[in-house]
């Protein structure tokens, strides 16, 4: 324990402290939005949104280097393209139901492809794996502020629209009949998802972020019967997975993203296995 405190207060390990703080704070948004993604069954849409963020990262790097737009941060590009993808996938899933999966699959891979092409066109060498798989060394104190702002935004939105979002996720047709703009709330929810995803790209990366969004909520869903309880429990699980994963990564010298995801995945597996086992015992 004293070792741990020493490590966490040691000036050389500023990056670890930042990663831990970002992980804990981002869990608030992740738990809330993850609950919506899991209950509304839009993990696939969220996957497309996260992968298309890479297109924005590539574009931002390209514009930054080629046109000297030094203020343009790759994360700004990620936010812009993730929001665009959220709006497009949302409209597609509302208006073109039959071809929904094809279009979403296309957005998924075209987003990735665009990012890679932009990076090819950009002079100089980039370590793209940090975007794809996460790199805690990239986290700065600026990120902590960004996460805090997003948390505030998502918590406020959820408090303001909790009952409407619940009705839209449960039965959007009925919500429409009660005079609620169900399509509008749905697109809004996808935009919140896009913003949340971009936040944790630094820690777990684009490829794996979807697991960190859905697994805590999936585990929490096994224990609760109400939406707000599921959100609180997912926040807790997300914090636990982030912290345990970062610890494992640091002490074993592993990559942070995969460590977090493996812990989350194993927990989910154990929980569903135990539940199946319990059911079997009950039935005899």
């Amino acid at each position: 324990m004293t070792d741990l405190i020493q490590i966490l207060t040691h000036p050389d390990y500023q990056f670890l402290r930042n990663a831990l703080i970002v992980g804990l704070l981002a869990s608030i948004s992740f738990g809330i939005i993850g609950t919506y993604v899991v209950t509304k069954r839009i993990s696939y849409l969220a996957g497309a949104i996260s992968h298309s963020a890479f297109g924005g990262i590539g574009a931002a790097l390209y514009l930054n280097r080629t046109f000297g737009l030094s203020w343009l941060d790759p994360m700004m590009g990620a936010v812009a393209s993730a929001l665009a993808a959220a709006i497009i996938t949302g409209l597609v899933s509302i208006y073109a139901r039959e071809r929904e999966d094809t279009v979403i699959g296309a957005i998924w891979s075209v987003g990735m492809a665009a990012g890679l092409i932009f990076i090819d066109l950009t002079p100089g060498y980039f370590e793209i794996s940090s975007f794809l798989f996460g790199d805690i060394l990239l986290i700065s104190s600026k990120d902590i502020i960004m996460v805090l702002v997003l948390d505030a935004f998502i918590v406020t939105s959820t408090l303001l629209f909790y009952n409407r979002l619940l009705a839209v996720c449960f039965d959007d047709e009925f919500a429409t009949l009660r005079g609620i703009n169900a399509h509008g709330y749905y697109i809004f929810l996808l935009c919140l998802t896009a913003l949340t995803i971009v936040l944790l790209v630094r820690i777990v990366g684009i490829v794996m972020v979807i697991a960190l969004l859905t697994l805590p909520a999936a585990v929490a869903g096994k224990f609760t019967t109400r939406m707000w309880k599921m959100m609180l429990l997912s926040i807790f699980f997300c914090m636990a997975f982030n912290t345990a994963g970062l610890g494992l990564a640091f002490f074993q010298g592993l990559s942070s993203g995969p460590s977090i995801i493996i812990i989350a995945g194993l927990t989910y597996l154990v929980v569903i296995s135990l539940q199946k086992f319990k059911e079997m015992v009950k039935k005899g």
């Binding site: 209950t39 069954r41 009952n163 619940l166 449960f170 009925f174 919500a175 009660r178 109400r226």
Partner: protein, 274 residues
């Protein structure tokens, strides 16, 4: 023609009738020459239908005949390509607060984290400008759950209920917005006979204060409580229940069918024959 004292009264009566019809239309549903097509496929053709206030009607017809489409047109979720649809004298989307709707529960995600009370309260959303439910809303939801005998299950996970119970909760959700027209989509599918009987007793009671329209595949049972039958197979025909006979059924389903006696007064040994 000049208005003299002799023909003055009938003219006033006529105007008065019109005024009453606008303020309080006698028709719950009034469809004139409505047609609907998905892309090129015509689903409903030249529909003319009027359902009076206080009616209890079932919509029957073969699968793909347009029952669901008709329901969605009545709800205002779809718009007719031609013709007009009026609910209590106004387009459906203008009168949504007067319509209660119970969908099929099989469309809903059964893992969803909601309690019975959560679901019932959703019926009150339209009445709220703000997102929070008031005590008034909770009382209305409780009363609606009481009406379908589900008030003892308020804190139960929606998923833990049986099919018949889920359907009753969805009726309560539709009731707590205090509708004047109740639309139900296949309320008798996936439930056992006992629940079906309960359901119809509830609906019969509700019919005393609201118009009821339900989609059903179960024609035999309908004649027991239902006042009229609306047959949908691309075209729409309305029959009073007393006239249900072989020709009508042939009309709806096309082709010869065997009719099976299907009254609900069966004993364990089978039908009691006179």
């Amino acid at each position: 023609m000049s208005l003299t004292l002799d023909n003055y009264q009938p003219a006033v009566d006529l105007i008065w009738k019109e005024v009453i019809n606008i303020v309080e239309p006698s028709q719950a549903v009034d469809i004139k020459n409505a047609s609907f097509a998905y892309q090129q496929k015509k689903v409903l053709k030249d529909v003319n239908l009027s359902v009076p206030r206080g009616d209890f009607a079932t919509i029957v017809g073969p699968n793909g005949g347009g029952k669901t489409t008709l329901l969605k047109l009545l709800l205002g979720l779809l718009k007719p390509n031609s013709g007009t649809i009026k609910i209590f004298g106004k387009p459906p989307e203008k009168n949504r607060y007067k319509i209660g709707y119970m969908p099929q529960y099989s469309h809903l995600d059964m893992q969803f984290p909601v309690t019975v009370m959560d679901v019932a309260l959703m019926g009150r959303l339209g009445k709220r400008r703000w997102d929070r439910y008031s005590t008034l809303d909770r009382d209305a939801a409780s009363a609606a759950l009481g009406e379908v005998k589900m008030d003892t299950f308020k804190k139960t996970h929606f998923n833990a209920l049986s099919g018949g119970q889920k359907q009753r909760v969805l009726i309560a959700r539709a009731l707590c917005s205090e509708p004047e027209l109740l639309l139900l989509d296949e309320p008798t599918s996936n439930i056992d006979q006992e629940s079906e009987k309960d359901l119809y007793n509830i609906l019969k009671r509700l019919n005393q204060r609201m118009t009821i329209l339900l989609v059903s595949h179960d024609l035999g049972f309908t004649s027991q409580v239902v006042k009229s039958v609306i047959c949908v197979n691309r075209q729409v025909v309305i029959h009073p229940t007393t006239t249900i006979d072989g020709t009508m059924i042939k009309d709806i389903y096309g082709g010869d069918l065997k009719m099976i006696r299907h009254d609900h007064r069966c004993c364990e040994m089978g039908h009691i024959h006179d």
